[in-house]
């Protein structure tokens, strides 16, 4: 028979062609992303080399260092909360940023979703641009307005409301604001698409059953929106915890978060195992949160 067998046709991708298409991407990610993280995991159980790098001696010192300080002379461990405070600060900053983003985004996303199609597109476009604009530039812009001699302080000084510049930059407040400013669009966009799918007849039913606007919003709209709220919160929380630029630029290097602490270990401090251990902790936090979300999503799907 002259013709080719059916198995070669386009609809049934043969194992060979399938692998040829898939493996360039998989290979690149496995080699340059997954393998490096495996190396990091290994390094986190080694000891730092004298001039950077590592020495191949097994040790859990890198993890102990997060909680304890080892005395040079007698090798005794004393509890030091310094690093723990940085981890806690990262979690608190990220939580605060997430909550404030929620408060701003819920009404905004709802408002956009209830506009007419044309107006909606303009609003969406306005939110999308900052989403894609360079994060470094946006952080610099925020620093520019918050500085002691920035436009806000200058204006307030000129009017005479204040005698001295307000300390708006280089502190925890600036970091919080920076995180919100950085990741606010990450919250608005998924919430918007959740509100888009909202069945507004539910609202009519609530009013029909004598609910007030406030009750209808908090008892009907928000509970139905829960999956969207959770997804948006994670999209803000995860990058916030590991954020580097906002604390680096707006915190003025004083109030560190875990991202900066990791960066420092590979730059100035040259303690790779400690940096690797911190990275593993950050990665674990992130993956736990993501896994939790994935399981919730799966449950949601099953119950529907």
């Amino acid at each position: 028979m002259s013709a080719r067998p059916l198995a070669l046709s386009s609809r049934i991708p043969q194992g060979f062609a399938h692998a040829g298409l898939l493996w360039p991407s998989l290979g690149v990610i496995l080699v340059f992303m997954v393998a490096p993280i495996a190396i990091m995991l290994t390094y986190s159980f080694l000891v730092p080399g004298a001039y950077g790098g590592v020495e191949w001696t097994f040790s859990t010192a890198a993890y102990e260092q997060i909680l304890f300080e080892r005395d040079f002379l007698d090798d005794s461990l004393t509890f030091t909360p310094d690093y723990l405070i940085i981890v806690a600060r990262s979690l608190i900053q990220a939580t605060v940023a997430t909550l404030l983003c929620l408060v701003i985004s819920v009404p905004t996303a709802y408002y956009i979703a209830t506009r007419s199609d044309r107006v909606k597109n303009i609003w969406l476009f306005l939110i999308t641009i900052p989403y894609w604009v360079n994060l470094l530039i946006r952080t610099i812009a925020l620093l520019f307005v918050l500085r002691d001699d920035g436009p806000i302080n200058s204006a307030l000084l000129d009017v005479g409301v204040i005698g001295q510049p307000l300390a708006l930059s280089y502190n925890g407040f600036a970091i919080s604001l920076g995180l919100i400013y950085s990741f606010l669009p990450f919250m608005v966009l998924p919430l918007y698409s959740a509100f888009e799918r909202f069945d507004f007849r539910l609202l009519e039913a609530a009013y029909d059953l004598y609910a007030s606007r406030r009750v209808a919003f908090f008892r009907i709209v928000l509970p139905v929106m829960r999956p969207g709220l959770i997804a948006g919160s994670l999209l803000v929380f995860i990058p916030s915890v590991g954020s580097y630029l906002a604390p680096d630029i707006l915190g003025g290097g004083k109030t560190l978060m875990i991202g900066n602490l990791i960066g420092t270990q590979f730059q100035a401090a040259r303690n790779w195992p400690f940096g690797a251990a911190l990275s593993m902790i950050l990665l674990t936090i992130t993956l736990i949160v993501l896994l939790w979300l994935a399981r919730r999503a799966a449950q949601q799907q099953r119950s529907n």
Binding site: M1, S2, A3, S9
Partner: protein, 392 residues
């Protein structure tokens, strides 16, 4: 209506491929030759896995050249699988599949002299109507001039000339349907497969397209294999119908055969409506037999096969062939439980012993026919030859 006619002796599309022994030109002279034939065809999805599912169970079928053949059955019965195997989109598990004598069981779709009208049409959205119709001819490597000529003829054939340079997404369902037909007919296939092509259209358009499809088939002389779950569609258009249920071929025959002479309870029930009544053979003599129906009495009916006294059978009676009358004589009786006005007919729901029956009389109460109300007792009469005896 004047229509462009496809040349009676077209060049078969498969000429460009090595394997194509028969030419449509020769088969027009032998209208009884076999267009498609499947033998012992089985299709099992997910072979060897726990979700294995046998979609076709040992199907044998011959489709004659130039006929309008319909595969009819409820959704999930295997009719679309059979069509997809003929088209080459699905691999058969065992058995053979021949098209004009050639074994195509292992050929990919592009090597089969067969074209398909897909259920949702599958028109290429980035191409104009003209380019869609030309696609198959271009793939066959036809000369430009011939492609142009055929496309023009196809545009006329389906009355889409004025839409030739539009894209499919700007057109209505009926228009897309015509383009899909023209695209599939353009390469002059030996077999045209149609996968529920009318299901996406509204009722009025569907009825119109039925007539158009039928006359298109007659004009082109191409064998059409049509898949549908709509029995009315099947009866209206087909030369022959194959009724499929649960992967089994139930019955093959002309629309009249299928409707008037159902050979199984499934066919009697699926094609039109039937009252199916369980009965026992009381007496059998030659081509007639008497049947006992519990709580009902005895009825006479002609039989096609031998039956034994005491054998369990089913009797099938169409609602329109059940005649109701006033109770004035011996014989089966029933009570009217409900009356439904249907416009052109009246339907009566009846109870006779443990049996629930349906009778339909055209424009009840008029033209001398008596009308009945719920609660009325009626006598049941059967038109001669209206009772079919079914053994399975």
């Amino acid at each position: 209506m004047q229509r462009a006619i496809i040349e009676p002796n077209p060049t078969p599309p498969a000429d460009s491929k090595a394997a194509s022994p028969s030419k449509p030109g020769s088969l027009l002279q032998h209208p009884n030759s076999v267009a498609a034939e499947v033998r012992n065809l089985r299709k099992i999805y997910n072979v060897g896995s726990p979700q294995a599912h046998e979609a076709l169970k040992d199907v044998n079928l011959s489709i004659r050249a130039n006929e309008f053949f319909t595969l009819l059955g409820p959704s999930g019965c295997g009719k679309t699988t059979l069509l997809r195997i003929l088209g080459g989109f699905e691999m058969l598990t065992s058995g053979t599949c021949r098209i004009f004598g050639e074994d195509v069981s292992r050929l990919p779709p592009e090597a089969r002299p067969v074209n398909t009208v897909f259920q949702q049409y599958a028109l290429f959205p980035h191409m104009t109507v003209r380019r869609n119709i030309a696609f198959g001819l271009e793939m066959l490597g036809k000369p430009k001039a011939e492609v142009e000529r055929t496309v023009e003829r196809m545009l006329d054939l389906v009355h889409m000339r004025e839409y030739a340079d539009r894209r499919p997404d700007t057109m209505s369902g009926g228009q897309r349907q015509r383009v899909a037909l023209a695209r599939a007919l353009a390469p002059q296939p030996k077999l045209l497969l149609l996968d529920e092509p009318l299901s996406a259209l509204d009722l009025k358009l569907r009825q119109k397209m039925r007539l158009e499809l039928k006359s298109l088939q007659r004009e082109t002389g191409i064998t059409f294999i049509f898949v549908t779950h709509d029995q009315e569609e099947a009866l209206a258009m087909s030369d022959r119908v194959a009724v499929i249920s649960n992967g089994h071929l139930q019955q093959v025959g002309t629309p009249e055969d299928i409707y008037e002479q159902p050979q199984s309870r499934f066919v009697a029930d699926f094609i039109g409506e039937s009252n199916l009544i369980e009965a026992k053979v009381a007496d059998s003599a030659g081509s007639e037999a008497a049947f006992d129906i519990e709580g009902f009495g005895q009825v006479q009916a002609p039989i096609g096969q031998r039956v034994e006294v005491g054998q369990q059978v089913w009797l099938s009676i169409r609602p329109e062939r059940l005649v109701l009358g006033a109770v004035h004589r011996e014989g089966p009786q029933a009570t009217v439980t409900d009356r439904t006005y249907l416009g052109n007919a009246v339907e009566y729901h009846l109870r006779a012993g443990k049996h629930a029956l349906t009778a339909r009389s055209p424009r009840g109460g008029l033209r001398g026919r008596q009308d009945f109300a719920p609660g009325d007792a009626v006598s049941l009469g059967f038109e001669p030859g209206s009772i079919k005896v079914l053994l399975s």
